[in-house]
């Protein structure tokens, strides 16, 4: 990991944590477990498409760990980790295959997988009866995934206007992976 990756990962982790902590103050909107806007996943998604899984994975892990500790809900870290791992594994496998205007597709699928992972963890600790919540969680995953996916998508499409990110802006052909020619020169 070079200095640029570390810096990028650190900035994105701080951003993800800030969003996560603010969102944690919002009480549950629906009396259904596991339904949250998941806005910090927009940051993880941005990191994945902007800098690849090598940067996005530490951002996700750090956000889960530190977020759980800072919000005082260390208990829920297990469920966040289960869901996050499943959704991130999917994202890391397919992110290269989706063009710039379909980031929200990856996000929606990842969000649904995240909820499924959380449900599986809850079923392992409580009982398999919690899977009765699967339809509701799929529906909410699709909705929240769409929102966070669009946030990440629009950020990705316009981030090149900021100086720090300009060097790694999207290439003209629309692919997200930067050429990293400058890194190779170092």
């Amino acid at each position: 990991m070079n200095a640029r990756k570390v810096t990028t990962a650190s900035l994105l982790t701080a951003l993800a944590l800030a969003v996560y902590i603010v969102e944690a103050q919002i009480p549950p909107l629906l009396p259904l477990p596991g339904i949250k806007p998941g806005l910090s996943n927009a940051v993880t998604l941005f990191a994945l498409f902007f800098a690849g899984p090598g940067v996005a994975a530490p951002v996700l892990v750090a956000r889960i760990l530190l977020g759980g500790l800072l919000t005082g809900q260390a208990f829920s870290m297990l469920y966040s980790a289960a869901g996050g791992f499943l959704s991130f594994a999917f994202g890391a496998c397919v992110y290269r295959r989706f063009p710039r205007n379909q980031v929200f597709v990856v996000s929606m699928i990842s969000a649904v997988l995240h909820n499924i992972g959380q449900l599986a963890a809850a079923a392992a600790t409580s009982s398999a009866a919690v899977f009765a919540y699967l339809p509701a969680l799929v529906a909410s995953g699709l909705v929240t995934g769409l929102f966070t996916g669009l946030c990440a998508q629009y950020a990705l499409l316009h981030i090149g206007k900021i100086g720090f990110f300009k060097k790694n802006a999207l290439t003209a052909s629309g692919s997200f992976i930067s050429q990293r020619t400058e890194d190779k020169n170092h």
């Binding site: 259904l32 205007n101 600790t125 409580s126 009866a129 009765a132 339809p135 509701a136 529906a139």
Partner: protein, 125 residues
């Protein structure tokens, strides 16, 4: 796959899951036997039809379950989100779940009727 195809797919999936969620939460089993589970084990078996007077069941981790008027609900819990309490009475196949305390309250369907463990509680008492 084209974006429109994805959108159509997700719209269909959303419809199906909303319908399934509605179905799950409104379909009530024929009988009135409810099981209270903690840590995956049946802790208490309640027959709502026999519950004459309201009574409370205190569970190990700070949850209190109330049975009254043919309904069962989570009265209070020490969990941070209080989703289980806000859910109200048990309806349909959607269980009342308190994830931090690993409590699940649900109707016992026919296959479960051969209880593995009932901890000495008399239904309705």
């Amino acid at each position: 796959m084209k974006t429109r195809a994805w959108i159509a797919l997700f719209a269909a999936l959303l419809l199906v899951s909303c319908a399934a969620a509605w179905y799950v939460s409104h379909r009530r089993p024929a009988d009135s036997l409810v099981g209270v589970y903690q840590d995956g084990r049946l802790v208490r078996c309640v027959d709502l039809a026999l519950a004459a007077e309201p009574y409370d069941i205190a569970l190990a981790d700070g949850c209190v379950v109330r049975v009254e008027a043919g309904e069962i609900r989570m009265l209070s819990s020490d969990c941070p989100d209080q989703i289980c309490v806000a859910q109200g009475a048990l309806t349909g196949n959607l269980p009342i779940v308190c994830v931090p305390n690993r409590v699940v309250i649900r109707y016992l369907s026919e296959p479960d009727a051969g209880y593995d463990a009932v901890s000495g509680a008399v239904p309705g008492n």
